[in-house]
């Protein structure tokens, strides 16, 4: 039975007052006396040898304080995964894409810094470049990295079960291919940072990041300073969605320039530079075959992937693994074969973005499922229900579904959308489609192989016992993690939410891997719960002596302490508290001893009350190569039904209705869960209908602005019927798991399936612009 005082409510966000009044401080709002402004020199060509860099004129410009290149920065290789460190802070021999960093300048103001950047003279020998992933892997293609011949940054070959043999037993095998386009995450706040070395030589970096911990490690490694001398503080962040999950050349440049000049240095990316830095969603090509029995039972899946990685690896190894592993569920399969390649091209590097590696392949698979159902004459929703996994089952690639409300989600959207009265019954031009998906609730392993805790949390109680502070390195980036942690701490301590403060996003507070892979609710949540339990235990122990009541019979609820379920005789303790706070106007009252009095008593006996908590997942996953990618202590899942109208004369698509159900375990804060669901849908809708980063023939981005890179506007996004399905996740704190990324999985295929229903045309390339759909409809008319 669930009996929560704080969890499961619609709690106002802790950051709402500051953000809605404009008082919230983002990195660009920070300023320090003596602060310098930095700017980057980035390559204007896509591929070339650097013959010479002449910084003399820039150095002589009035107001310039430092110019740094590879010579000053050194050549420490870094990246995301230690298996593929293929970047240096600045290019030294070669540039590999338009935007590759060559030098940085610090000056007294930004104008001077930008002018100095223009005065740096670089001589290049231009090399042939390759922009297409298929071309890049062909023999004779221009080579980006000597260490990785053939332009293959990573490849995966996995087989689970006997795919070939099972395919032969199938009544029907259906094929599908799919091509998505490179994305930009289009967060509102461009990267911004401020670095400062103090007089002890210790560095503090304020930066707009999702991962203070990894930034700290990378900065320390690249600048060759001890990790302990680097403190990374994340102020308010205006969105990340993945691309802010790694250390940037911007951050490292600011740190280096601060080191060289001894002054604080601030640097920002412009919007165009955000596109150039990228690290957003790859372009994916998918090729699949699904083998089924006549009755719709799925048996085997063959899956092939090619990813356009851009010039460096970034998260790419994980990405190409995810494209395979995340098709292991949520349907039962007896065999699955996966082959994936990630190619280097002379474009900005791609990385992780919401639904990391899974979104395009999920889109292909869910379309394939519909296609198969169509050929079998089965309702696609019924086909999904027939094959769906349930809690307790493991996928064929050994991902353990410890909770899984997939079936409940499908039923919820089926009924919530009135599917049965609409499917097959809508007029031409109107369509309805469905799809499912699931995602990890925290990566099972850190990015660098380590036995580190993924999360630690410290909880401190104020001396008067009235306020509890949660200290954590986790990253509130707008998703609501601070509020979530406050709620868990309040619930565990039995106090009202208002009594909890959260200090987060600082590597000084605790170890936390950060906001990526939808991990903080489960992992940081666990650590917060454990820390709060420790505080609670310490207080109960002190009380047990004073009240002569076994600690096991002392409970905390709504700010009160209960002894064997009742108030107990606590009058002496109350008098003691009031005596200590003589003259104060808020003496504790009421029929119960309050948490405040109890915590004060504990302080008097033990000193400052501090509880710590920690979390790391148990060993997860199989023993095969790459088994780590896709593992998680838990999985969130979702189903969607989308209704569209297609203008048959122009090809324009309007999404009319979206019904979404997500299983997030326990919904700690309902409002935030719905916010994540709706945000995911809008992001998926944009990727499906509008978004594509486009290049000219020389590798320059032609739409590096939010005017020309088209994310959905409020008018493009319908209202969403959000249905929260709650399973009880045994591995989650209070049964909670992810909602940040899983919800995006079904969006694209649900729209595509609805478009098919409306037009009879299957679109297998994104984005579905009016022109693409119109031309496809024309093409179909021509064929009888």
């Amino acid at each position: 039975m669930r009996d929560f005082q704080v969890l499961g409510a619609r709690a106002p966000r802790l950051d709402a007052p500051a953000k809605s009044t404009g008082q919230a401080k983002y990195a660009d709002d920070l300023t320090m006396s003596g602060m310098l402004h930095g700017a980057l020199l980035q390559s204007p060509i896509a591929h070339g040898k650097i013959l010479n860099i002449d910084t003399s004129k820039a150095r002589k410009l009035k107001g310039v304080r430092a110019v740094v290149t590879a010579r000053e920065a050194g050549l420490v290789k870094y990246g995301v995964s230690p298996a593929r460190y293929d970047e240096t802070l600045y290019c030294h021999e070669k540039v590999r894409y338009v935007g590759d960093e060559i030098a940085a300048v610090a000056a007294v103001d930004l104008e001077t810094a930008l002018e100095a950047v223009e005065l740096i003279k670089v001589d290049y020998e231009e090399l042939p470049a390759v922009f297409d992933m298929f071309e890049a892997m062909k023999e004779g293609a221009p080579q980006l990295h000597a260490e990785f011949p053939g332009n293959v940054t990573a490849e995966v070959h996995q087989e689970f079960g006997e795919t070939g043999a099972l395919m032969a037993q199938c009544d029907l095998v259906v094929d599908h291919t799919f091509l998505s386009k490179r994305q930009d995450a289009a967060f509102i706040e461009p990267h911004s940072c401020l670095a400062v070395f103090d007089l002890q030589g210790k560095l503090t970096l304020h930066t707009s990041t999702q991962v203070p911990h990894y930034v700290m490690r990378t900065v320390a490694m690249v600048l060759r300073i001890p990790v302990g001398d680097v403190r990374v503080i994340k102020p308010c962040v205006g969105g990340g969605f993945g691309p802010k999950s790694e250390a940037t050349p911007l951050e490292m440049s600011a740190c280096l320039l601060s080191k060289v000049t001894g002054r604080p240095v601030r640097m920002n990316y412009t919007r165009e530079q955000v596109f150039l830095h990228s690290r957003a969603r790859h372009q994916f090509y998918a090729e699949m075959s699904l083998g089924v029995k006549k009755d719709g039972t799925m048996l085997a899946l063959r899956n092939k992937a090619v990813l356009d990685g851009g010039a460096y690896t970034s998260f790419g190894i994980a990405t190409v693994y995810y494209s395979g592993s995340l098709l292991g569920g949520p349907y039962r399969l007896q065999a699955m074969k996966y082959d994936g390649w990630r190619a280097y091209t002379n474009k900005p590097a791609c990385g992780a973005q919401r639904g990391h590696g899974g979104v395009a392949h999920r889109a292909c698979f869910e379309q394939l499922l519909d296609k198969t159902a169509d050929e079998l004459g089965i309702d696609p929703v019924e086909m999904r229900l027939k094959n769906v996994m349930v809690a307790g089952q493991a996928t064929i690639n050994e991902l353990n579904m410890s909770s899984l409300g997939m079936k409940e989600c499908i039923e919820a959207v089926r009924d919530g959308s009135d599917w049965k009265n609409k499917k097959g019954k809508l007029p031409k031009g109107k369509g309805i489609g469905s799809a499912c998906g699931f995602f990890v609730s925290g990566a099972g392993y850190p990015i660098y192989r380590s036995d580190t805790y993924h999360s630690t949390v410290v909880i401190k109680v104020a001396e008067d016992g009235g306020t509890v502070t949660v200290l954590t390195g986790s990253a509130e980036i707008g998703q609501g993690s601070d509020t979530m942690l406050a709620m868990i701490a309040a619930e565990t301590l039995g106090i009202p939410l208002e009594c909890v403060r959260v200090l987060s996003g600082d590597t000084e507070y605790s170890v936390d891997l950060g906001a990526y892979s939808s991990r903080q609710t489960l992992m940081t949540g666990h650590a917060a719960k454990e820390a709060a339990e420790s505080v609670r235990r310490q207080i109960a122990e002190v009380l047990s002596v004073h009240m002569g009541c076994d600690a096991a019979h002392i409970t905390f609820r709504n700010g009160n302490v209960l002894f064997r379920g009742g108030p107990g005789d606590f009058e002496k303790l109350r008098q003691g508290y009031i005596k200590e706070h003589r003259g104060w106007t808020d003496p504790p009252g009421g029929d119960y001893l309050t948490f405040r009095e109890a915590a004060r008593l504990a302080f008097l006996e033990k000193g400052t009350l501090v509880g710590t908590g920690k979390y790391k997942p148990p060993r997860l996953g199989g023993a095969y190569k790459g088994a780590a990618v896709g593992t998680s202590p838990a999985y969130g899942c979702s189903a969607q039904v989308v209704e569209v109208s297609v203008d048959l004369e122009t090809g324009q698509v309007s999404v009319d209705n979206m019904t979404d159900a997500h299983d997030c375990g326990l919904a700690i804060n309902l409002t935030s869960v719905e916010g994540q669901m709706q945000g995911s849908l809008s992001m998926g809708l944009g990727e499906c209908l509008f978004e594509e980063v486009k290049f000219d023939s020389r590798g320059r981005i032609i739409n590096a602005s939010l005017g020309e890179y088209k994310i959905p506007t409020a008018l493009d996004m319908p209202n969403v019927k959000s249905i929260v399905v709650e399973s009880n996740e045994p591995n989650g704190p209070y049964g909670a798991k992810e909602v940040g990324e899983g919800a995006i999985m079904p969006t694209i295929p649900a729209i595509l399936n609805a478009i098919y229903d409306a037009t009879g045309v299957r679109i297998n390339e994104l984005p579905v612009t009016a022109e693409r759909l119109y031309m496809a409809m024309k093409e179909k008319e021509k064929k009888p």
């Binding site: 104008e111 088209k710 022109e771």
Partner: protein, 295 residues
């Protein structure tokens, strides 16, 4: 992105503004809402050494009805104002519709009709409605003034007949006769914040509610270096009894008047097909309004 350095002027009379323009001419740019100019300056596409704001020039932001016969619209009137002005919605409908489709609310609050016309982007939203409404533009300089029919105003992408010392002061539009109606359609990827791939404005005047077409104007945007009138299509329609088939033919002819390009927003082929479809639709909408005309 930083703005380049420039001197800023904020004249408070029309005379001062014209004198400044006379003095500074080619080194100066007029600033209205700034939604084109400041973007270009940040991108270093324009580096004027002087910027002359017309924000405080009296009358620039006014819509003045002329006894029911006509309207004068100040060049500084914003899209937001045009979209909600009842007279404009009622009698100059294509202009009000186009105003309501320009950008998004924050842009509409700043974007002026004068800036839109002077900027002369082939895909801009205001030129086609002004063309089907036969607007006349008043240009003034320290030396005198001239009235230019909007159809003679555009010279090429970004180019108009305005001389460096001239200011576009206002538009003058005669009220369309009884049984007139108009419409405007914009095709873009999203439902807001869009640069048109194709846009169409149309005005139809009928003899009576069920009578033949006595006058019609069709203007197309984003399909040639300047917005164009589909004159041959208009010729087909004048004197005819309106029908769907006729409108379809008009669209077909309209395509012949255009020379759209292929760019990253769309191909020439698709644009051509859309000219046909949207011309037909726009005429159909205009017809419905003409039939429903009320004194």
């Amino acid at each position: 992105m930083l703005l380049p350095r420039f001197e800023y002027h904020e004249p408070t009379t029309l005379e001062d503004a014209l004198n400044l323009l006379h003095e500074l001419g080619g080194n100066a740019r007029v600033l209205a809402g700034g939604t084109d100019l400041l973007v270009k300056m940040k991108r270093k596409l324009e580096k004027p050494s002087h910027v002359i704001s017309v924000a405080r020039v009296p009358g620039m932001d006014q819509i003045i009805p002329r006894n029911g016969h006509a309207v004068t619209i100040g060049a500084g009137v914003t899209a937001a104002e045009l979209a909600r002005n009842e007279l404009v919605m009622d009698r100059f409908t294509p202009l009000a519709i186009a105003a309501g489709k320009l950008g998004a609310p924050p842009i509409r609050n700043r974007a002026s009709i004068g800036g839109n016309l002077a900027n002369a982007r082939p895909a801009a939203d205001f030129p086609p409605p002004c063309m089907v409404l036969n607007a006349t533009l008043k240009l003034k300089s320290a030396k005198g003034e001239r009235d230019i029919p909007v159809n003679d105003f555009f010279r090429g992408p970004g180019e108009t007949v305005i001389e460096p010392n001239e200011l576009l002061v206002s538009l003058h539009i005669e009220t369309p006769p009884p049984w007139s109606g108009g419409s405007y359609i914009k095709l873009g990827a999203r439902k807001a914040m869009e640069i048109s791939m194709v846009n169409v404005a149309a005005m139809i005047t009928l003899q009576s509610a069920d009578g033949p077409i006595v006058d019609v104007r069709i203007a197309l945007g984003a399909v040639a270096p300047t917005p164009v009138r589909a004159l041959a299509a208009e010729d087909l329609l004048v004197g005819a009894i309106p029908s769907e088939e006729l409108f379809r033919k008009a669209g077909e002819i309209g395509v012949g008047m255009c020379s759209p390009i292929t760019d990253h927003r769309g191909t020439m082929e698709y644009r051509c097909m859309m000219i046909e479809v949207l011309t037909k639709r726009c005429l159909t909408e205009a017809l419905a309004r003409a039939k429903a005309w009320k004194p």
